[in-house]
């Protein structure tokens, strides 16, 4: 082959180069899959077998006993109710947080795109910068104010916090998406004499399905995976699953039950993994929309 091959498919069949490419990809896959493999295998072993230390091997005696324990009776030191309490807390936090943050983001993005409200650009700029600043910069005054107005350590409190910290990304998503819509749509609605909310409800929202899907994926995974906000604002009664999981695994009381710990860890990862696997390319689009597009 002289190096000139302008058209046609890539060379088929065997070559050492191709083999190298697949070798690298398979090796990389091993790196990414091994921790998941270890978690799964550990969760199917008995503690006696785990103490033998064959962390990578298939269970000699396959057992499911760790899974119901993780769900129903794993201990956090004081209580032994399993991660299910955290699962339901996370659901109760997740549903209103996702709905309200997307609703507010859509409304804000809509108002910023189609109306010239003075100061809107400044508002957007501050929001964007705020999105990059670590929570630690805001968290202490928020705790003080939340306890003064009585929503600290409550479900309301944690939902409000998620809406607040979700606002920049949600606004960015909807603002960018709406800027790509043809403005004629909006103008037509206005010529017909429709008002702000009517145009939003009947013209803009029906066209927003793709970006609402992207926003839902981002918020469901983001809020489910949150730890620091749930830890600080939700209170003992509403601890989300991540906080409960960490308390279970890193609790120093009693002997560590690694099989139960790993079953609980996988259970906690299940919701975002489920979203990831069913959403496929949408997940990637969410990353791209949130990160790359300006």
């Amino acid at each position: 082959m002289s190096g000139v091959e302008p058209f046609g498919p890539k060379p088929q069949g065997f070559s050492y180069g191709r083999l190298g490419v697949y070798a690298v990809l398979v090796l990389a896959s091993l790196f990414f899959l091994t921790p998941l493999w270890v978690m799964l295998m550990t969760s199917f072993k008995s503690m006696a077998e785990i103490r033998d230390g064959q962390i990578l091997s298939w269970p000699r005696a396959f057992t499911f006993e760790a899974w119901p324990q993780a769900w129903w009776s794993a201990c956090t030191g004081l209580t032994c109710d399993g991660v299910r309490v955290g699962f339901w807390n996370s659901i109760r936090i997740l549903v209103p947080s996702v709905i309200f943050s997307i609703g507010l983001g859509a409304l804000t993005g809509y108002a910023m795109t189609f109306y010239r409200v003075r100061g809107a650009n400044l508002l957007f700029a501050i929001m964007l910068i705020g999105a990059f600043i670590p929570y630690q910069v805001f968290i202490y005054p928020m705790v003080r104010v939340f306890s003064i107005i009585g929503i600290y350590d409550s479900l309301t409190g944690i939902v409000v916090v998620h809406v607040i910290f979700g606002l920049p990304l949600m606004t960015l998503l909807f603002r960018n998406y709406y800027s790509s819509l043809p403005i004629e749509l909006f103008n037509a609605g206005r010529v017909d004499g429709a008002g702000f909310l009517t145009i939003f409800r009947h013209v803009i929202l029906p066209m927003s399905t793709p970006i609402i899907i992207v926003a839902t994926i981002l918020q469901v995974t983001g809020i489910w995976n949150d730890f620091i906000l749930g830890l600080t604002f939700a209170g003992r009664e509403n601890r989300p699953m991540t906080v409960l999981l960490n308390n279970i695994v890193n609790s120093t009381q009693g002997e560590a039950a690694y099989n139960v710990d790993m079953a609980a860890t996988i259970l906690t990862a299940l919701v975002p993994l489920f979203v990831y696997f069913i959403s496929g390319r949408w997940f990637v689009r969410g990353i791209a929309a949130g990160a790359v597009k300006g």
Binding site: L25, Y135, Q136, M142, W224, N225, F227, N246, V292
Partner: protein
């Protein structure tokens, strides 16, 4: 004579206001959040950094005392070095690995979707899950080290997670595992945008593919690399969950990080002033890194488009 003009201007302004008022009203919640939280809470924290607040906030003024104390606190200075080491290695590692993964996936491979799914799935999981998984995987007595030794490599040593001078590297590995799929996804989108003509031209000139990737395509991907680097840098500044789950800052203080230092001082050590001072240092660092990028990416007037 000028009165009708003025009157019509006034009615126009009134009409304009009627049109804009609902939009302004709709922006009110966002405005309240921005003013109260993103500005208000931030100023409050800055203010507390100049006070002597211990368990409860007080509003006296002690000048730079908290900052002087901060930089004399071993735990904080150590956190600073840790996060610097972590940041450099994590960002470089995730960028290089993510770039390589994207390039290898871009070679018209079979099962591309499967590989992509495998490389990106850790990014869907929380840092808590990541940290707990790696904490167990690297367990010094029962983890990887034991398994490899039992295979016959009896002198194999990988107990970094309990070694004070090596523990940060285990956090780097876990974080790269979690985040390099993100870099891959961002760069793959860029690679797919490369013109096929470029490959034909390179082939005619007999330029080896690796040279094309390094000398032509890598520079073309610069904006995406910068975006990925900024996202990773933000994750560095926020690094907290992973440390809590994986090492709890130990052994000793050898994996303490600034975000954890601040939280500990706010909520456990009753040192609100000191924690606030540390938060201000973190804030200044982040703004210095991110502000130029935000300006270039989102706020600079675009040359085309509306």
């Amino acid at each position: 004579m000028s009165q009708p003009v003025g009157a019509s201007a006034r009615t126009q302004a009134a009409a304009r206001w009627r049109r804009q008022a609902p939009a302004a009203l709709a922006l009110l919640p966002a405005a309240v959040i921005v003013v109260a939280i993103y500005i208000g809470a931030m100023i409050w924290t800055v203010r507390l950094a100049f006070s002597s607040s211990k368990m409860l906030p007080v509003f006296d003024f002690v000048g730079m005392q908290q900052f002087e104390r901060l930089f004399a606190t071993e735990r904080f200075v150590a956190s600073g070095w840790h996060i610097l080491l972590f940041g450099v290695l994590f960002i470089a590692g995730a960028l290089v690995l993510g770039f390589l993964l994207a390039v290898f996936i871009d070679q018209h491979v079979r099962l591309e979707g499967v590989f992509r799914t495998i490389f990106l799935y850790p990014y869907a999981m929380s840092f808590i899950v990541t940290g707990l998984a790696w904490q167990w995987f690297l367990h010094p007595e029962l983890g990887l080290q034991k398994a490899v030794r039992d295979w016959g490599f009896t002198s194999f040593t990988f107990d970094w997670i309990v070694q004070p001078n090596l523990v940060m590297y285990t956090l780097v590995i876990a974080a790269i595992w979690q985040a390099s799929g993100l870099v891959m996804a961002i760069l793959l989108a860029g690679l797919r945008g490369v013109d096929a003509e470029l490959w034909k031209a390179a082939r005619i000139d007999a330029i080896p593919p690796w040279r094309v990737y390094l000398s032509i395509i890598l520079p073309m991907l610069t904006p995406m690399l910068v975006t990925a680097a900024v996202l990773l840098a933000v994750a560095v500044a926020k690094l907290y969950d992973l440390v809590i789950a994986m090492t709890k800052g130990g052994p000793g203080i050898s994996s303490e990080v600034p975000a954890k230092f601040i939280m500990d001082n706010f909520f456990e050590r009753s040192n609100v002033g000191l924690g606030s001072a540390a938060a201000v240092v973190l804030l200044v660092t982040v703004v210095a890194i991110v502000a130029p990028w935000i300006y270039a990416e989102h706020l600079r007037p675009k040359r085309s488009g509306r």
